[in-house]
């Protein structure tokens, strides 16, 4: 990726500013050294950036003179580069936060006025750098390019002490009389992103698919256990067995407190589309797997009858019929009493293994 064109001119401009300030008191590097740097500067932008830093060094400068030069540099930079944040004066030049909440309520202080002073650097940040953009899919988003590896990994060493020969550094460090006085200026190069974008999506990211081959337990429950659940623990409205559900609690929502026979028929009619859904899934699965495992057999958990896989899917096809057969014509109270009596008289082992009616 080529670097952003807007970055290069700023650095060049900054370089010129440094040269201007050199005449104000910085020790000029030797002319010969400067000439040697010229070819490098013309070839690599990075070299410009790197060698630019040496002009902020103050070797052998007295401490008292540091402050005026520091301030003068920041003033000049402030005037020359509006978007280039360097030097001091930050307390007077608050920079808006890129992460300020778009809704102020979450960060609104209960008493913003009394202690406004103490948190002014937070409250003064504007909201203009945050935006929310609606997209219908994550694929529509164009994210910034990734430059971290190029800029942060295996960067070339910086020449901290100006002139440096290719010989070993260790003896020089230990013997250098100016080491304790060496001081550096802070280098800031902050180019904030103008807008921080949050994307608003209508559905969650990384949507998954309905993979029936991984729904082993769901199919097992649906094919084998669900009917037993409704047999062992029927769900209905009090003693009214006509309200007994066969699949979902939503079936109770349609129950009328004073129901007539016609309404009952309508309810049964309305529930048919729901029953078809498991069958379509099962048929799809049957087409995929019966051919490979048609001869394999296994035992079911409750009634212990041996059945092969094709029998299972035949049972599924007749699922809705089996449900209809459960509609009892006996009187409500009598059948309920009989079932209650059965619970008390029969041992649990027999009851749990009772075949389906």
């Amino acid at each position: 990726m080529s670097p952003s064109p807007s970055v290069s001119p700023r650095r060049t401009l900054n370089n010129k500013s440094s040269y201007i300030n050199n005449s104000g008191g910085l020790v000029l590097p030797p002319t010969q050294f400067n000439l040697n740097q010229q070819p490098v500067l013309s070839f690599q932008q990075k070299a410009t950036f790197d060698s630019n830093q040496q002009f902020f060094y103050y070797p052998e400068s007295p401490t008292k003179n540091l402050r005026p030069r520091f301030n003068s540099i920041s003033q000049v930079n402030k005037g020359v580069n509006e978007d280039h944040y360097t030097g001091g004066g930050s307390s007077n030049n608050n920079r808006p936060s890129r992460y300020t909440n778009t809704m102020g309520a979450a960060n609104t202080n209960v008493n913003s006025h009394p202690h406004h002073q103490s948190v002014s650097h937070l409250n003064s940040k504007s909201l203009k750098f945050n935006q929310t953009k609606e997209v219908s899919s994550i694929n529509e988003i164009i994210f910034p390019s990734r430059t971290c590896t190029k800029k942060r990994y295996f960067t070339k060493p910086i020449d901290l002490y100006g002139t440096r020969s290719s010989t070993s550094v260790a003896p020089k460090l230990t013997n250098s009389p100016t080491k304790s006085k060496t001081n550096f200026n802070i280098k800031k190069c902050i180019l904030p992103r103008s807008v921080v974008t949050t994307y608003k999506l209508p559905s969650p990211v990384h949507e998954t698919i309905d993979d029936i081959s991984k729904k082993i337990i769901i199919l097992l429950i649906s094919l084998k256990f669900e009917k037993n659940y409704h047999f062992l623990q029927p769900i209905q409205l009090s003693t009214n067995s006509k309200t007994r559900i066969s699949k979902s609690l939503d079936e109770l929502c349609g129950v009328q407190l004073t129901s007539t026979l016609r309404q009952q028929k309508q309810l049964q009619g309305n529930s048919k589309p729901v029953k078809n859904l498991p069958n379509s899934n099962a048929k799809q699965r049957a087409g995929a797997s019966v051919s490979t495992n048609a001869n394999e057999s296994f035992e079911l958990s409750f009634d212990g009858k041996a059945m092969d896989r094709s029998d299972i899917f035949r049972m599924v096809d007749s699922f809705s019929i089996a449900i209809s057969d459960e509609d009892e014509e006996d009187e409500e109270e009598d059948s309920f009493q009989q079932r209650s009596a059965n619970n008390r008289i029969l041992p649990a082992e027999i009851l749990s293994n009772e075949p389906l009616k």
Partner: protein, 825 residues
Amino acid sequence: MDNFKIYSTVITTAFLQVPHLYTTNRLWKPIEAPFLVEFLQKRISSKELKNTKAICHIDPSWVNLNASFIRDDMISIKATTDDMDLDAICRISLPLPMNTNDLTAELEKMKRILLDLSEKFNLELIITKEPAYFTPEQTGESKELCIYVHALGFRSNLMECEPQLLAFVDLIKKNGMTLPPQHYIIEPMELNSYSVLPLYMGVDMENFKHISRAFKTSIYAPSLITLSRDLKANPQIFFSGAVHSLSLLARKTLRESISVNSKSFFYRRLTNITPGKLLFIRKYYQQKVNQLILKYQSLIRVTNEYIEFQSISTNLLEMVIKNFTIQVLHEIVEVQISLNENCAMSPELIIDSFFGHTGNQIVVITPKEDSFNQLIVVGNQSSTDEASDTSILHYLSDFIMGSNQVINPNLRQIKAIFEIHPDFEDFISGKKNGKLTRIMELSACLIQLEMEEEDDNLYLNLVSDSFPDFKESFKNVINEFPAEESFFIPEVCHRPIIGTGGSLIQATMRKHNVFIQFSNSFNLPQNKISMIRYDNVIIRCPRKNKANICLAKNDLKQIVQEYDSLQSKTLIRFSSGQYRHILHVNGQKNIIGQIEKNENVYIMIPLKEPLDGTSQLSIQGNDENASRAANELVNSAFGYEYEFKIDQEIDPNKEYEFYNLIVVPFLQIMNIIVTFEKDLITFTFEKDTNENTLTKAIELLSNYLETQKTKIIFKKIIKKFVLGSASSKSNTSNSNTNGNFRSMNNAKSRTTIDNTSQSGASPQRHKMPVITTVGGAQAIKGYIPNTYYNGYGYGYGYTYEYDYNYANSNKAQTNNRHKYQNGRK
């Protein structure tokens, strides 16, 4: 094409085959890896080695291998790799109580399903008579026969299969009762994305906890590790309970309370994070990431290229990104070591120096060459372990100043790269860059602050030519990083803490040299099954003064306690049905936040549903406001109640029937919340419920009670709930049920949302009593919980642990699993 290599530690497990009752025989193989053969030869004979089968994955590219036995049947293997893949072999083990003596018949029933699971998820499923691969918790009471189901395979496959395996075990086993209901009833639910899983779980799993308690149902959901994988099939959640209608209701309630289809999702990415740092986060910060995911109900997904976030509100998204930056990115540092050009390092030197100790938490990046003079080290700024130093400075000292005496004489330059949230630029620099300037004066170093247009965060570069100077400067820099703690204090207390004109808070901030910021949490999203108290107070200071945060926090709590004793409280009658009703209304309209905001009060909603019939809700404020808020809350969020006294207690054996015929149908058909305790039945219903509906409901209840030879002997309608103001003396007795601020001292401020309303410990109302029937009939036992679970947890454990070696997490997982089984003990 990348021109670098990233070295890191990989940990996996080898499982040896043990005597078993059944195995799917999909992954067992003879031991072939040369390293493992050599390791095992020291322990067993060559002949025995040939007959031993194992499940093991050792990539040929791994180097620097080490192995040790965890148990006789498990070997922990650590190595160094340059592969970014994180998958490793691990296992899940589940006990399966056997209440029948016919073991062979039970195994036959299981085989088909086990084979299917094995095939579809590429796992080995094995059933043993002895507790292989883990040590079960010793429970002296359980003397029953137990077999063990184990799943072995790659972690990603295990995590995807885990909820199904748990549900399958519940399908097979019986709960030990001698009368119905004897079986667990499992109801499945499918989601259409893993990224909404945190939303369903709730803040710190509160949604799952509430549903588990209220509906006596266990919830088996995928673990949070699945969020970082690219799984394609729909995630599955299973609800397992002994009462049929409650399992169905648990599923319906969770789905309808979250209602994903009606929400918008807000998404953002951090794109310019270096690959070494991303790998380091995925390896060593998974637990912290999981905590943030649960605290903010948001997706945090760290891939090889970026970090992505998804929330249901922009405020939540900002909060989760900022806290992730502070708690994760701020803690990690990258250090570049440059040697002189005439000196070179080799990959062998790197591996030997940095990965010699298997416990090192470090990632190293080198050029993709045999000889190089630069490398990058990624590590923690500070040590994360009390026992051993895991800070990057420790590893760098060993490497640079170590016994080899090769690096230091040739050290050209060392550069640390810190990542900082842009909001903290002024904080880290100080006034006129005073902080950074002072650091550079103390020792020879250069500090750069840079942020390119494509960067999401600010980068601070610390450059030095000598390691001692670097070390000194490094410590000074990290001491200036922000340390922050956030927690909840009721908004009604903010004003007295701040004081007139800010005088009080200014004094506190000056006293401890910290910065304190208050915000309100009224408008952040709620749901219908939990009350979320978001952090609304932040205390911040430089890391070197981190201890002051605790002192300042104690000062604030002191003020809160003093203010609390001056406040008056209005008490409201509060039943468990009313609790569900108010949460439901609050999820729709956020009525609690509105009343707190408008009336300047604090409504102490209990964290858990009250189980005692005499519970009281407390509203704190001044006399006038608290009373007005109480009436407003009752008018807008309360329903009416009908209490019925019956002439004998509901038979515990028929509880399931009462749920199936009365409690759940009444809720579905007539929107009446029915709760009961012994001989007291309570209806909670909307104020505008039709009178005919109520009459019909009472008639239906009477019809059912007649079948149980029981009748209603007393009934009372309750329309007034405000009990009036309470004096400070009566506050003491009410504190047991409504909580007080003193409980804040016990709250976890970092990993949980602080909530000062803690219900007092109360006995489980629906505990099944032990009854010995006259005539020598068999004793009725309570439900037997699953007391063992030693995997990674199934998603809603309170303390989520991510541990490669299972022994360390057995205890925590067991305790948490036990706590929520069927909502009772």
